[in-house]
């Protein structure tokens, strides 16, 4: 199970948070801070796995993250997930973002948090991996965006 997905920048500012188990808002912020603290002090050339965060899920819990330019993508998972598999999944997710936003950068995530959520919803659902095929994800996202657009134009017509 994936317990949480956090995206924050090099300064620890959250860009997307998605918890698959409930935490109150202040706890969520604390988890983000702790995670940022753990992740940010690591060099880029060390491994992408991290144990020792204490906040989510007790002992059966691992942080798997990737660092892209100004953003950290952190997945908190338990032992039922394959470490390398999750790393691949992060890559798929980021590539999907890249496709949907055309050269994604931090600003896209800042201003379109909702869209990023919608994309993520096609990748992970309720803490479990839903789809790993990028083309399939992009296709579903696009269909939904088209639906949204058609609704907007309907709205204008009225």
């Amino acid at each position: 199970m994936i317990k949480a997905i956090l995206i924050f920048n090099n300064h620890g500012k959250p860009r997307l948070i998605r918890f698959y188990q409930y935490f109150a808002e202040d706890m969520q912020q604390q988890i983000i801070r702790e995670t940022f603290h753990l992740v940010s002090k690591r060099d880029d050339n060390v491994c992408n796995f991290l144990e020792g965060g204490s906040l989510i899920g007790g002992s059966d819990y691992k942080l798997i993250y990737r660092h892209y330019a100004t953003l950290y993508f952190v997945f908190c998972v338990d032992s039922s997930e394959s470490e390398l598999g999750i790393l691949d999944l992060i890559q798929v997710f980021v590539e999907t973002l890249d496709k949907c936003f055309e050269n994604v950068c931090e600003l896209d995530l800042i201003f379109h948090m909702d869209k990023v959520h919608y994309i993520l919803q096609e990748v992970v659902m309720g803490g479990m991996v839903l789809e790993t095929n990028m083309n399939e994800i992009v296709a579903q996202v696009e269909v939904q965006n088209r639906m949204e657009k058609s609704e907007v134009s309907l709205f204008l017509d009225r």
Binding site: E25, D114, H117, M125, L130
Partner: protein
């Protein structure tokens, strides 16, 4: 362009959209909070408007603010409003917000049930999708209960997009509403074979997640997963399945045996590191589970270790990390194979990456032995020095202690060394683990008697130099050590060289700066020391010295009496008064030492950590009963008139406080004393004094090592432990030399045994004896402690509720709740009524069966219900499949009861278990044979079924014969299995006498879950291949057939299992198996070997042993039966001679053997028949005198068909060949004539299959 206009106009409409909000926040960096609070005010205004677009925009902004940490739960109702918008755009916004901030205690969730249900059944799949996604995040037990049925329906939605989401969300539903697991499971299982890979992967995901928590319930799915594993190419699915197998294999070692080969193949073939890694992991799990039973899989271990070494040496830090992680798993069972890589692991300790260093540390934990402990710890100590000031250093410290103390100090041969390591560790700056070191010191000092002298000396030095430890505030953590030091010096003060000096050190004014609990220990132990000092001084008849000591106490203690800490104060004032009194006595020249010592007499033994829990509750003691009457609420109203109180009393029915007389009290007191005497937690008033303990037998025999006084007993300064390492090495050398000498002597005279005993440890380390007898005092447990292992289970684990037996047939009560109007009862259809009556008339009435029939009727009703739904939703086959399973599972139970009068109800688990057993025992391709297995069990029923006598047939003896001729190996397996079964169900003692006839088994046959009274061993497909005086070969009739997808264009592979049994008294080796290839069929040989080379059988056979080997054949055309000639050559080896022998045989591949049992739903079957592509043929069998269901069972088992549908004496059956030919049968019976109409797209194949069927029945 048009789009821009649209966007612009939308922007204008709203005061501020999400982008504006974000921009605004970024522009107000200084007063962000203030800006956001004005924004929230705006949002509140927007939410008050009626326009749903405005509301949605506001909710979208709230979602953003939620991410920044603002609580937005106050808008929950507005979120629900937006969710219920008919527009997808807004609905999506609403569900997103809900998924971010709703949780179980959000009360408006109650309002959403109907909205969500509406969305779930929306014609627009994306509405459904959005609802499912949202629901997955905030599903509550109520929602789960109310929506479970709707979601289950969605699992068979036409769109894979919805199916996969519905499948995934089921896991959340199960967690919240465990009752839904059993009704939904059959369909979930079906989804494992969904044509869409996404849905399949989702189903695998869910089942893996379920199985991880309660693996034993999912063991019966192993064959299915095995098939998926060998057929799937999706790495995600593979990884999940392989991980799942890792969880299953500890429960079933035979599964592991089966897995090793495909896994090693994957390891060799895959290029995906993630998959490789998981394979290695599971192979390790398999090896762990096999380590007890199997001889050796050293090749597999070597492969794993070698692959892991490659990972660890990789420059990719991730692989390095994972390599170490997996290595630590191997370590647990095969430490030797890892220990050879010690160099590599020590190297990883220097890695710049902390994660990797930590992993390496974990590994070291398991790699230590008596031999290398000191060396490894020395290395670690170096790292401790290097890693100044990080948390990593604390980690090192705990690891050092863990490593040394593991399994009861198993690897420590020299405790002086260990104590000095501990003392060295106290030099660490700012560690948080002072208490850890302290507890180690205490533990060692208490439990290793022989070390006490040394430990006390060291502790005294520590106390002397306490100022070094408490010198600066940073060291506060470490001062915990002083707690231990003070206690050890006090408790074992008789070993102190200079107790007076220590006493003085403990009473220094500086002590008052220590934390309270440490001061308290100081004070208490100062008193103990005082007692010892007194004793020594009085012995010297120097009364002034003794009085001076008392004076010292009286001078120093007032400082502690003033302490703010209650504990310190209390102890200090008690002891102060005591000493004052002693001083008075001393002044009168009274000898007091004896009495003072008695204050602290007796030994404190260590108590096991779980001891408290294990104290059994004495009989008759009710811990929940009130000891005294609970304070009554009316107590304050005592003035109330008595009458009223008396009236009320019976209402409350409080136990009245009974008057206890003196006698009773005395009796209780006595009982309590008795109990205390037996209770280890009460310090007994035993007469034994410390003196007595010193003279305890055995103690003086402990060889106390002379402390080398050249070693300075100083805390600061040079690390002493190194010197102990040196000493220890010298000692070991000397010992080795001694031993050699002794061994020389031994030749002349038998060694009388060495005086020293090893505490434990592997034999290989025999040559290292502990420096002194390590008399590790075991921890005390209460007498008659209850052995229990359930200590570690967390009662709050949500997955506990999901520990549900999934193989049991569904009960009526287990239907998912359906909304009321759907549950309306439908009239019974005549056909089904007839069926029910039929069943009733066939069986004599029994009291016990009545209920059952009732149940059955219910079932029928249910079936009708589901049929109705079916019509509505056009998900015919799934519904039916599910229902059939329920119905079918019940029917055989009824039958067995009635025909056999067996009280015990067999549960379908037995069938499942034996299916699994069957699969595990021989078939490599699961799902095909699983069904065959159930039928196999059904087949030999007639002869045994006491009720239906006419069934016994000539064919039956043949079966038993077959079994008898089976190899001993299989017999063994069978026995074992039977034993297991017996253990599982003690009730089933009647095993061999009562078999139930499988009368209603038509559906059972179809679904492969026959209710089977007796766990018959799988009826074997093995037939004798060839035999001579040396060896017997039995071939399985090639039913284990599978096609290899994509590899060969239209070739297929057939696997033949051959059992070799050694019948002679000699050793058989170098067996070579060779077959003369025909044009059509070829034996697969390893690459590089010629077409006529034999295959080496991968084992040798000691006398009387049998083993099984598999051979793979490639077959071009499958429409004709095949015969292949072959030869087995082998060497018979006696003690003095060896001869070459050979044995000729003929392999017979029937057409049947190319068929795979494939389940088929009736609608698909009908379509197939209608398609008109199939050629027709038919055959008539005369004089068949077996019941129809036996006939079907026989066809199913011997010819790999499955029953599609059965109506009375007519049944349709289906099978598929390995090359995809469909074979359909319509079997009818009337009297003794059976007619089979068959259709197939390949007439030749059909003809041959029919011939073979005919032959089967002509034999009986």
């Amino acid at each position: 362009m048009a789009l821009k206009i649209v966007k612009g106009s939308i922007d204008r409409m709203f005061d501020k959209n999400l982008q504006d909000l974000v921009r605004g926040i970024r522009n107000h960096k200084e007063d962000e909070a203030k800006y956001i609070s004005t924004c929230i005010d705006e949002i509140k205004q927007e939410l008050k408007q009626d326009n749903i677009a405005v509301k949605a925009n506001a909710v979208c902004k709230l979602t953003y603010l939620q991410m920044l940490g603002y609580d937005v739960s106050w808008a929950a109702f507005n979120i629900v409003e937006v969710m219920s918008s008919s527009k997808f755009t807004y609905k999506r916004i609403g569900y997103l917000a809900a998924s971010q901030c709703f949780h179980e205690s959000t009360d408006v969730i109650m309002l959403t049930t109907n909205q969500i249900r509406k969305d779930l059944s929306s014609p627009n799949q994306y509405d459904t999708g959005v609802a499912l996604t949202g629901l997955s995040c905030f599903v509550t037990p109520d929602l789960a209960r109310d929506l479970a049925n709707d979601i289950m329906t969605l699992m068979s939605h036409t769109k894979p997009y919805i199916r996969k989401k519905a499948v995934l969300i089921m896991y959340k539903v199960f967690l919240k509403y465990p009752e839904s697991l059993r009704p939904a499971f059959p369909r979930l299982k079906e989804k494992l074979e969904d044509p869409d890979p996404g849905v399949q992967s989702a189903a695998v995901n869910v089942i893996c997640e379920l199985a991880r928590r309660n693996p034993k319930n999912y063991l019966s799915l192993a064959p299915l997963f095995f098939k998926l594993m060998t057929s799937s190419t999706n790495n995600w699915v593979l990884i999940k399945i392989i991980k799942l197998f890792g969880a299953l294999t500890p429960l079933e070692p035979r599964l592991g045996k089966k897995l090793i080969e495909p896994l090693t193949n994957l390891i060799h073939s895959t290029s995906a590191m993630s998959l490789l890694y998981e394979c290695v992991n599971t192979v390790i799990a398999v090896l762990i589970s096999l380590s007890s039973g199997m001889p050796n899989h050293s090749a597999s271990i070597q492969l794993c270790v070698q692959k892991l070494r490659i990972l660890i040496e990789d420059s990719d830090q991730n692989l390095k990390y994972l390599g170490l992680l997996a290595m630590s798993k191997i370590l647990k069972t095969h430490p030797k194979s890892v220990q050879s890589h010690k160099d590599l692991i020590l190297q990883c300790l220097d890695d710049k990456d902390e994660s990797i260093r930590l992993r390496a540390l974990d590994l070291l934990y398991g790699m230590v032995s008596k031999k290398n402990l000191m060396e490894i710890v020395k290395k670690l100590m170096l790292h401790v020095d290097k890693a100044e000031g990080t948390t990593y250093r604390d980690e090192l410290l705990t690891k050092i202690i863990d490593i040394c103390s593991q399994s009861n100090y198993q690897y420590i041969t020299n405790f002086e060394w260990y104590i000095s390591i501990l003392v060295e560790l106290t030099r660490l700056e700012g560690t948080r683990h002072g208490h850890l070191i302290a507890s180690q010191m205490l533990d060692v000092a208490i439990r290793v008697r022989a070390i006490r002298v040394f430990a006390v000396a060291q502790m005294a030095t520590l106390l002397d130099n306490a100022h070094l430890l408490t010198g600066n505030m940073q060291r506060m953590g470490i001062c915990e050590v002083l707690y231990a030091a003070a206690w050890i010096c006090g408790e074992f003060s008789e070993h102190l060289e200079n107790p007076m000096q220590t006493l003085e050190a403990m009473l220094r004014p500086k002590v008052a700066t220590l934390p309270g609990h440490i001061q308290a220990v100081y004070v208490q132990n100062a008193a103990k020391l005082f007692a010892t000092v007194l004793k020594n001084q009085e012995g010297n008849t120097d009364s002034t010295a003794a009085q001076e000591t008392s004076q010292l106490m009286i001078d120093r203690l007032p400082l502690f009496v003033q302490s703010a800490n209650l504990e310190v104060q209390e102890r200090a004032s008690c002891i102060l008064q005591l000493v004052k009194y002693i001083q008075k006595l001393q002044q009168k020249d009274v000898e007091v030492a004896e009495e003072v010592c008695a204050l602290f007499a007796g030994e404190l033994n260590p108590v096991a950590p779980k001891a408290q829990k294990k104290v059994p509750v004495p009989e008759g003691l009710d811990l929940d009963a009130w000891i005294n009457e609970p304070p009554s609420e009316s107590e304050s109203e005592d003035e109330q008139p008595k009458a009223i109180f008396a009236k009320e009393e019976p209402k409350h029915s409080r136990p009245r406080h009974t008057e206890v007389d003196e006698k009773e009290l005395a009796r209780r007191r006595e009982a309590r004393k008795q109990e205390q005497a037996n209770n280890p937690f009460y310090i007994k008033a035993s007469p034994s004094s410390q003196k007595a303990y010193q003279e305890a037998p055995g103690v003086e025999h402990i060889p106390v090592v002379q402390i080398d006084l050249s070693v300075p007993l100083k805390v600061p300064g040079l690390p002493m432990s190194d010197q102990y390492v040196k000493l220890e090495e010298e000692r070991r050398q000397k010992e080795r030399a001694d031993k050699k000498k002794k061994e020389k002597k031994k030749r002349k005279e038998k060694r009388s045994g060495r005086g020293r005993k090893h505490d434990s440890g592997p034999e290989s380390e025999e040559d290292i004896t502990p420096a002194h007898m390590v008399d590790i005092v075991t921890e005390e447990m209460p007498e008659n402690a209850l052995p229990s292992d359930d200590d570690d289970k967390d009662p709050n684990d949500p997955h506990k509720a999901l520990d549900i037996d999934l193989d049991k047939p569904l009960a009526d009560s287990e239907k998912l709740p359906v909304r009321a109007h759907r549950a309306a009862e439908a009239p019974k259809s005549p056909a089904e009524d007839g069926e029910a009556e039929n069943a009733a008339s066939q069986e004599p009435k029994k009291k016990s069966s009545k209920e059952k029939r009732e149940k059955k009727k219910d079932k029928d009703r249910d079936r009708k219900k589901s049929k109705e739904e079916k019509k509505k939703k056009k998900h015919k086959h799934e519904e039916k499949g599910e229902d059939l399973l329920g119905g079918q599972a019940d029917e055989p139970v009824v039958q067995s009861e009635e025909t056999n009068e067996v009280a015990a109800l067999p549960t379908s688990t037995s069938a499942e278990v034996s299916d699994l057993d069957f699969w595990l025992s021989n078939a490599p391709v699961p799902s095909n044979t699983q069904e065959a297995a159930t039928v196999a069990e059904a087949a030999p029923v007639p002869e045994a079924a006491s009720g239906t006598a006419p069934d016994s047939e000539p064919e039956e003896p043949k079966d038993t014969e077959m079994e008898e001729t089976k190899s001993s190996k299989h017999k063994k397996k069978k026995q074992k299995k039977e034993k297991e079964e017996k253990e599982k169900k003690k009730k089933k003692k009647h095993h061999h006498h009562h078999h139930h006839s499988d009368g209603g088994g038509e559906e059972s046959v179809q679904n492969g879950t026959v209710e089977e009274e007796e766990p018959l061993p799988p009826m074997s497909n093995y037939c004798l291949l060839a035999e001579n005086s040396y060896i017997k070969m039995m071939m399985e009739d090639a039913d284990e057939v599978y096609d290899i997808q994509g590899n060969l264009q239209d070739g297929s592979q057939v696997v033949v299992s051959v059992i070799f049994e050694n019948k002679c008294d000699s050793f058989l080796k170098s067996m070579e198996f060779n077959v003369l290839d025909s044009l059509n069929s070829k034996l697969q040989r390893p690459e590089g070997s010629g077409p006529h080379d034999g295959l080496t059988v991968p084992f040798q056979l000691p006398p009387g042993v049998s083993n099984e080997a598999r051979f793979v054949f490639t077959v071009q055309s499958i429409v004709m039966p095949q015969k292949l000639k072959g030869t087995l050559t082998f060497i018979v080896k006696n003690e003095d001679s060896s001869t070459h022998e050979k044995l000729d045989f003929k392999l017979h591949f029937t057409c049947t053997s190319y068929l795979i049992t494939t389940p088929c739903y009736s609608d698909a079957f009908a379509k197939l028949l209608e398609s008109g592509d199939l050629k027709c043929s038919s055959v008539r069998l005369e004089g068949v005198i077996m019941p129809f269901h036996h006939l079907l069972a026989r066809i199913c088992f011997h010819h790999h068909f499955s029953v599609v549908e059965r109506i009375d004496s007519c049944a349709s059956m289906y099978s598929r060949s390995i090359q995809g030919h469909h074979v359909c049968l319509l079997v009818k019976t009337s009297g003794q004539t059976v007619s089979i109409d068959a259709k197939c797209d390949e007439p030749t194949l059909l003809g041959n299959v029919l011939d073979e069927i005919k032959q089967t029945f002509s034999q009986c």
